[in-house]
């Protein structure tokens, strides 16, 4: 919304910034991927067909795509909220990891609670721990001037070390050498979507898609309302756009840094609901698997807006799922090749976001300026 008209793309029409640029970036990523596929002697058109079919071609595929997208929605929203306050939260990975700890503590040690209480308690646990992990770098940035990018990166490493220690020494399954916790009780798991819909008489194919997908969509709506319709969101965006203006308007920029990062960390923490409470049903090492970092690309591609983030998450979900099918169906294209394609999309949509701005500007201006 408000970030459309600033930055390197300033002055371009809305449709170009929101539609054309992401499309061009995507196209460029696919073009280069196509060349690489060609180079290893496979047919790029066939690869694209297989990728799309693998992501959307059948019910189970769609379920998987949405399951992956759920992770991206949480981490993408997390990055976006911080970004609206002018903060680059690189720590989504660590916040999601520690959020998983909070969630797991509830599911493992409060499992005397009934299902109706344990689910909200797990959500609170995940959000609270994720928020707490973001709070420390936020406080250091707000009141001590330590750069948030540096501290959140360091906190990712600390989170990894803490979790490895806990899973090996404290929380590991009794009588096992595996660095993982015991399984959650049956009632401390999120129902899978096909089970939930099946109970209502709607039959869909089995997939890991679970109820946390709905919670992710709800979070999108909540973030949208919060950001553009509440005073808290107004304060946060003002502090992000111009700290002196915030000060002038009686808004404390340091406090907004705290608010933004706590909300951001809570959203990242919720990723564990999908991955652990929904599918793995236990706390495992490195379940975050880079989703926290991919969230940066998702947020950038989605232009910080919940609707854009959902769309970008669908794209990344489709790449994950379609890519898996692709490597399965075409043996010449290995799993690593798929990672390369995903990397190219992240590269073009994230890091090289504005690469086509001069070209787009030149074309648009020539056609309008005469």
């Amino acid at each position: 919304m408000s970030i459309v008209a600033t930055g390197p793309a300033a002055g371009l029409p809305r449709w170009a910034v929101l539609g054309l640029l992401p499309a061009l970036n995507l196209l460029a990523a696919f073009a280069i991927s196509g060349l690489i596929v060609l180079l290893i002697g496979e047919n790029p058109w066939e690869a694209v067909r297989m990728l799309v079919w693998g992501a959307f071609g059948f019910q189970e595929a769609i379920g998987y795509t949405l399951f992956y997208a759920t992770n991206f929605i949480f981490t993408g929203l997390a990055v976006a909220v911080a970004f609206h306050c002018g903060l680059f939260n690189i720590g989504g990975e660590g916040q999601a990891y520690i959020g998983g700890l909070g969630m797991a503590l509830v599911c493992l040690y409060l499992d005397f609670l009934p299902f109706a209480l344990i689910v909200p308690a797990a959500v609170v646990g995940a959000a609270l721990f994720g928020a707490a992990w973001a709070f420390v770098p936020a406080w250091l940035q707000a009141y001590r001037g330590s750069h948030i990018v540096i501290t959140t990166i360091m906190f990712n490493f600390i989170a990894a070390a803490v979790m490895a220690y806990l899973l090996v020494n404290v929380m590991s399954r009794p009588g096992s050498m595996e660095p993982e916790s015991r399984d959650f009780a049956l009632h401390a798991r999120l129902p899978l979507m096909h089970e939930a819909l099946g109970a209502m008489g709607i039959d869909i194919a089995a997939s890991p898609l679970n109820l946390s997908f709905l919670w992710a969509l709800l979070c999108c709506a909540v973030v949208w309302v919060f950001m553009w319709h509440t005073r808290a969101g107004y304060r946060l965006r003002t502090a992000g756009a111009s700290p002196p203006a915030a000060l002038y308007g009686g808004i404390s920029p340091p406090r907004q840094i705290i608010v933004a990062m706590v909300v951001s960390g809570a959203l990242a923490g919720c990723m564990s609901l999908n991955e652990l409470m929904g599918v793995q049903h236990r706390l495992v090492l490195e379940f975050t698997a880079g989703y926290g970092f991919a969230g940066i690309a998702v947020a950038l591609m989605g232009r910080g807006h919940p609707v854009g983030i959902v769309l970008a998450s669908l794209l990344f979900g489709a790449l994950y799922q379609g890519g898996a099918e692709l490597s399965f169906e075409i043996p010449g294209i290995t799993r690593d090749m798929v990672v390369v394609i995903q990397g190219l999309v992240i590269l073009f949509a994230g890091a090289l976001e504005f690469m086509f701005v001069p070209a787009v500007r030149a074309v648009l201006l020539r056609s309008s300026g005469g």
């Binding site: 408000s2 970030i3 008209a5 600033t6 300033a10 002055g11 309302v225 553009w228 319709h229 509440t230 005073r231 107004y234 304060r235 965006r237 003002t238 756009a241 111009s242 002196p244 203006a245 000060l247 002038y248 308007g249 009686g250 201006l365 309008s368 300026g369 005469g370």
Partner: protein
């Protein structure tokens, strides 16, 4: 390449203009910034280019200096067509530019700044040595004395500007372009600059001066070109024209330079400042024991050269800077620490830097129009903003202050400077505060809007409110104020009732030449 080698490039063809611009056209998107602009500057003259903000003068000079390329048109230097693709080409053609915002490295010495980009070899020492010699020569030739080993950041603005001029001359500039050179100078410093310019002219240099200050341009130029809305509308010989004519050409209609005001009938003190002490960002004391008051129905102007504590004073009054000592009272009530209580007591503030502080550039106008008042229950329904109500409110303010286009959803940055300023003023004045603090209300604002803004400030005063005005424009201070305070070195160096201050007196006090010609308050 030494500067004398460069000078060879520009041996003038006899009788040709030093600079000739022929039918220059430049578009920025749909904006036609320069339309068929032609200009001819005779060698050895001072040529003024005037125009309102957005008239296209800066664009034209950017084209001459190679920052932008003209879409159509030709540039000739000393009669010869040249292609200027970048500032290197401009420098090679003998053009030197002194920017409004200096392009200097604060942590380098004067000599280091001067040789920057023209070091003349891998090792610095020989270049530095040569530069030192040339600098001494240039300094004595043009009265451009600057301590060569001082850090630029430690120099006052006037001297920094001399470094910029020296930089250009060191590179062999025959044509010197100065963009708004007196914006941050005290009157005496500006006078000194003009002496330097006349001397440069006497040595055969050609000078192009861009400004919107008409009296200065009348004082120093030989010829004046006027731009309006991207076109060159007139050329005049300075000797045969008047300020009024140039102003009319700039705006396209007659302008009232003097604000009509009725006699002052001041009431009780609405703003009282007692022994106020404030520190600046570096922790140095910048407002020292300042006391004054502003009464109902009075505009008090604070004159001073930038950096003498006015900005810090204003920020302290607005609650944006902690007070080290002293008291601030609004309508007799002491204000708290932050800005919130002040707003409730009836203190409004139009900050001097509207782009950084007064507005939020990427926000929609309606979002900027509630900054500081975003907690007002009228703007929300239950916990959420009622954007329809905010839009109506903003549209009303835009209407009352003639903000164009009157679109509450337009991005703030997309408005012109004058309209942005009117939006800030609308937000602060429409709430009818008791005390209005205004900093640089017409900086970067075109003449039409200046008139409007001045009338609104006078209207506030006539309605029995107190206005405290800080401005770098002495004309503005003298035209609007009922009382003038001069700030120098963090203290009030003098106080004058309206009409009794002459520009010379004010200038002397502003420059710290304390003749202490203090008249009774």
């Amino acid at each position: 390449m030494s500067s004398s080698e460069k000078r060879r490039n520009t041996t003038p063809t006899a009788g040709a203009p030093a600079v000739e611009l022929l039918r220059i056209n430049k578009w920025f998107g749909a904006v036609h910034a320069n339309r068929d602009v032609s200009l001819s500057v005779a060698p050895g003259t001072i040529h003024g280019i005037v125009g309102e903000n957005g008239a296209g003068k800066s664009t034209l000079m950017s084209i001459l200096y190679g920052f932008h390329r003209a879409d159509r048109g030709e540039i000739r230097i000393a009669g010869r067509p040249v292609a200027i693709r970048g500032s290197e080409d401009a420098i090679a053609a003998g053009i030197g530019m002194v920017h409004q915002h200096f392009m200097l490295v604060d942590t380098f010495t004067v000599v280091e700044n001067v040789i920057l980009g023209a070091e003349g070899g891998r090792l610095l020492a020989p270049g530095t040595h040569r530069a030192r010699g040339e600098l001494a020569e240039l300094a004595s030739e043009y009265a451009l004395e600057v301590p060569p080993d001082a850090l630029v950041g430690d120099l006052p603005v006037g001297l920094q500007q001399r470094v910029e001029i020296l930089k250009a001359l060191y590179r062999g500039a025959e044509i010197l372009v100065l963009d708004e050179p007196t914006g941050t100078l005290a009157p005496q410093e500006a006078d000194h600059l003009f002496r330097i310019l006349r001397r440069l002219k006497g040595q055969g240099k050609t000078i192009v001066l861009i400004t919107h200050k008409l009296r200065e341009i009348m004082a120093v130029t030989d010829r004046i070109s006027v731009m309006r809305q991207g076109r060159m509308v007139a050329h005049r010989d300075t000797a045969t024209t008047t300020v009024a004519e140039i102003a009319e050409l700039m705006v396209g209609r007659r302008v009232l330079s003097q604000v009509e005001k009725e006699a002052v009938k001041p009431g009780r003190d609405l703003l009282s400042v007692e022994n106020l002490r404030v520190r600046d960002d570096r922790g140095l004391s910048s407002v020292r024991n300042v006391s004054f008051s502003v009464r109902a129905g009075e505009i008090v102007g604070i004159a001073g050269v930038a950096g003498n504590g006015q900005s810090e004073l204003m920020e302290a009054l607005a609650g944006l800077r902690p007070v080290v000592g002293g008291r601030i009272l609004v309508a007799g009530k002491p204000v708290g620490a932050g800005g919130r209580l002040r707003r409730r007591l009836g203190l409004a503030h139009v900050p001097e830097d509207r782009r950084r502080m007064g507005l939020v550039m990427p926000f929609q106008a309606r979002e900027s129009a509630i900054l500081g008042h975003h907690d007002d229950p009228r703007y929300r329904r239950a916990a959420l903003f009622d954007w329809a109500a905010v839009s109506r409110d903003t549209a009303g303010k835009m209407d009352a202050f003639d903000v164009r286009p009157a679109d509450p959803r337009r991005i703030t940055a997309a408005f012109s400077g004058g309209n942005q300023q009117k939006l800030v003023l609308a937000r602060e004045i429409e709430r009818d505060p008791l005390v209005l603090l205004v900093g640089q209300p017409t900086r970067g604002v075109d003449i039409g809007a200046i008139e409007f803004i001045h009338r609104r400030l006078v209207a506030m005063r006539d309605a029995g409110r107190a206005v405290l005005l800080i401005s770098a424009e002495l004309d503005e201070i003298m035209g609007l104020s009922d009382r003038i305070l001069v700030m120098f070195g963090g203290t009030i160096a003098g106080e004058f009732p309206a009409g009794r201050a002459t520009e010379r007196e004010l200038g002397l006090l502003m420059a710290g030449a304390a003749g202490r010609e203090r008249s009774a308050p």
